[in-house]
């Protein structure tokens, strides 16, 4: 008769459901590695090579000294780039130009980071981040505008913008933005105030009161958001929440610097790991909130799922396409910014910098079915693999590129559960799931 009120699922059911959902991706992972093993075996002729290779891979990714921290470092750009691609997919747009937007974001950050001297970090760092995000947003916004106005397909226009970006940044690094003092062809080093702090460096940085203020402001914001989410029922008064948040902020400002000077966890293990990781995680949460909790995100997803219904519902296609591309580009630009400000050793952008992140981030987004939290996990997987590949090559002589092959297979098996089921002779289940990629063709007319 009338619909039964849906019982809120218990935690146990939710856990079981989550494990069930992880079943196929896990199988995909295992199968992909098996394929990789086969390739290694065939090309090296020896069975032991497989063991050496995978041993090197895992040790390099996690267990050797600085293994985990380097894996996490590699994860950061993957997170941001995959979020960029995923935001596009959710709206029915294939932003294959994330790599170009990455470059433009990187060069913008590299420029702004060294264009000012003497600015305190509380201004310079956000400014540089903004510059990188803006660069990426504009670079993606142009194909977005073209698509909204003329229907030009974004696969091609963003791909072309990629190559324009490569050449353009090459030009900028080689000529106008070249560091005249360095022997290598690269941009000048960004000022210390614009760098993304390494974790090891945090206690020292906090001694500067302006930096402490910046951190306090961030904590205030976090406290407010958390209080809305966790204490929503008990603290309904907005003033009370702000009061709590400000209290947290003040405590942080006064207490954190001396506290960290006294004690800072894992002081020797961070190596190059930088706070960009936190930024990336925050971005993932932000994207989740945007897509599933806001009106804007609802529009974006509707446009992706059924553009005709979106029009009927009064949503503006032009605005949504451009907004999606801008957000996507901004995320990709932030990835480039993190690269320059946090990952690069020279805190600059060198000429023959090749990221190779391009297609990987597409694979990650598809693997995670465009879910931001899945992207966090999958990005770590890819980052770890990329990091571990160095030791794998050293250990066994197997070239790093086999990782790409494994990743391609992983994508194939994850995107085509039917293939995995067929291989393992599993029964077919029927789910009506949201597809990762809703656009099918060129969508003309």
């Amino acid at each position: 008769m009338s619909s039964a009120t849906l019982a809120r699922p218990t935690t146990k059911i939710a856990l079981v459901r989550m494990l069930d959902r992880a079943k196929m991706p896990a199988l995909a992972l295992v199968t992909a590695f098996v394929f990789g093993a086969v390739i290694i075996w065939i090309t090296s002729g020896k069975f032991e090579t497989i063991l050496q290779a995978y041993d090197g891979l895992i040790r390099g990714a996690l267990f050797k000294q600085r293994g985990l921290s380097e894996s996490l470092v590699a994860t950061v750009p993957y997170i941001l780039l995959s979020l960029a691609v995923a935001v596009g997919f959710k709206s029915g747009l294939f932003n294959i130009g994330a790599e170009g937007q990455f470059y433009i974001g990187a060069i913008s950050a590299a420029f702004v980071g060294q264009a000012f001297h003497g600015l305190p970090a509380i201004i310079h760092l956000p400014l540089t981040l903004l510059a990188g995000a803006l660069g990426g947003a504009i670079w993606a916004g142009i194909p977005g505008y073209l698509k909204a106005r003329t229907g030009a397909h974004e696969v091609i226009s963003t791909m072309m913008m990629n190559y324009v970006a490569f050449r353009f940044t090459e030009y900028l690094i080689s000529f106008p933005l070249k560091d005249k003092l360095a022997t290598a062809v690269q941009t000048p080093r960004v000022s210390a105030a614009a760098e993304l702090w390494t974790f090891a460096d945090v206690p020292a940085r906090l001694q500067d009161p302006l930096n402490a203020l910046a951190v306090a402001l961030v904590m205030t914001f976090l406290a407010y958001v958390l209080s809305r989410w966790l204490l929503a029922r008990r603290l309904t008064n907005r003033l009370a929440r702000w009061g709590l948040a400000i209290a947290v902020g003040v405590i942080t400002f006064i207490g954190l610097p001396p506290l960290t000077r006294l004690w800072w966890p894992f002081p020797d293990q961070y190596d190059r790991l930088h706070i960009g990781l936190l930024m990336a995680i925050a971005a993932a949460v932000g994207v989740w909130w945007l897509l599933w909790k806001t009106t804007l995100g609802f529009e974006m997803r509707t446009v992706g799922a059924n553009p005709n219904a979106a029009k009927y519902a009064g949503m503006s296609m032009t605005r949504n396409i451009m907004l999606t591309m801008a957000i996507s580009g901004a995320l990709a630009g932030l990835a480039g910014t993190a690269e320059v400000l946090g990952v690069s050793i020279c805190r600059c952008l060198p000429l023959f910098f090749s990221s190779g992140y391009g297609f990987d981030s597409i694979a990650i987004a598809l693997l995670a079915n465009n879910n931001p939290f899945g992207i966090l996990a999958a990005s770590f997987l890819f980052g770890a693999m990329r990091n571990g590949a160095d030791l794998m090559e050293l250990n066994s002589g197997v070239s790093k590129y086999v990782i790409s092959v494994i990743q391609a297979m992983l994508l194939l098996f994850a995107a085509a559960p039917a293939v995995v089921r067929w291989m393992y002779r599993m029964k077919v289940e029927r789910h009506v799931e949201e597809e990762a990629v809703t656009m099918r063709g060129w969508g003309g007319g």
């Binding site: 619909s3 799922a305 219904a309 949503m315």
Partner: protein, 515 residues
Amino acid sequence: MTLALQASGITKRFPGVLANDHVSFELEKGEIHALLGENGAGKSTLMNVLYGLYQPDEGEIRIDDKPTRITSPHDAIAQGIGMVHQHFMLVPPLTVTENIMLGQESVTSASKFLGGLSVLDRRTVAARVRELSHQYGLDVDPDAFVRDLTVGAQQRVEIVKALYRSAEILILDEPTAVLTPQEADEFFVIMRGLVEQGKSIVFITHKLREVFAVADRISVMRAGQMVGTVKPKEATSEKLAEMMVGRQVILQIDKADAHPGEEILRVENLRVMDDRKHMTVDGVSLSVRAGEILGVAGVQGNGQTELTEALTGLRRVAEGRVTILGHDTTHATPRQVVEVGTAHVPEDRHKHGLVLAFPIRDNLVLCSYYRSPFAKGLELDFPIIEKQAEELVTMFDIRTPSINTSAGSLSGGNQQKVIVARELSRPVKLLIASQPTRGLDVGSIEFIHQRIVEARDKGAAVLLISAELDEIMSLSDRIAVMYKGHILETLDAATATREQLGLLMAGVVKEGAHV
């Protein structure tokens, strides 16, 4: 009496549905046999089994009294069965000739050795098409592109396609769905001509009147079962309707008199272009007042779709003016049209009306998600959205396991209820309902008709666009007939007759004079 075709005990199961339940059906040679039943009764399934599109789980088929199996449409064609589907199986960018010879192409003898890569011989096929066209009075132009043909012409092409392949048995699925009453009558003449030349015809319909016009025998199906076979002389509309639905059916809705109030919608000289740059709405003027239902009758393809899209902001207006409640909405966006107080039940529920991948909960706020109370600024307020969804599901009797079920999992009737629930959950001044009961079962049709009349009685102006003349006649207070982009005439529903409307729908304004 020889049997052209005999099916016994046909059973076909789909996941969750028993589409055909031990159905038996006989077609005599040279007869026109009507297969009647409401949407979802299993008629199309049975015919698809006979045409080889589905394989029956149980049952036997005999052609010319010989048991046989029909494994594919190709096989069916080889055995002399041709089918004209409700949604045509024609490829629009190809010509009539190319469509007809597709699958058994003629090639020039010189290049025959190249097999699949030999040169197509369009000329021979075109000649044969003209021959068949002449023989059966079908008037088909072999060189025309299918996309340029009218729906009626496309239907005739489908018939020639079947005859080209020497079909002896023709299955016609809802052939008159796209024809005016007069065109339908002409079609019946064609059918009798075919039968006189020795063909046997099964035709599927849900329209009671037609079967009396042309059938030799009528078989009724209901809920997957064959209820019975009667001769037209022995049956009445009421009896057939009862067989179709299994209970007494109210064929005419009971509605109070209209008390029209102020003018809500005014359309002045509207001209709208379709996607192919034809002016499909060519000077339409109409007016709808609060508390009345204006029904727009007309065969599909005369501009109704473009008219609705223009009124609701989904299509650009080339010329003219649209005023809703005093606001000029000629160039308004869909959102602006809604905010003025319009509700729109769209023609194509899958294309415009719903996001099938989203849960019902989201679909129910599809047009108002951005306003309070559903959203505060940017953020959506889910507890309120969910409460609204649960209320609507109860109020509109939407059959679903939960509000989080995806809309795609619902039946057609329930999907349409979701759309109607959503649209009527807002305060409605103007309701534009376009083909609101297409493809639905009788229960859902009744329900939606009641809601539309209810909206009218609450003071809304209702613009009803439908290709089902029965629906128009039963619901409307006034009826406007649309033909080739014009409103030919607007009649008072109480006095309008089927014949009058039929003539207008065919473009006949005065006796014999065509527009």
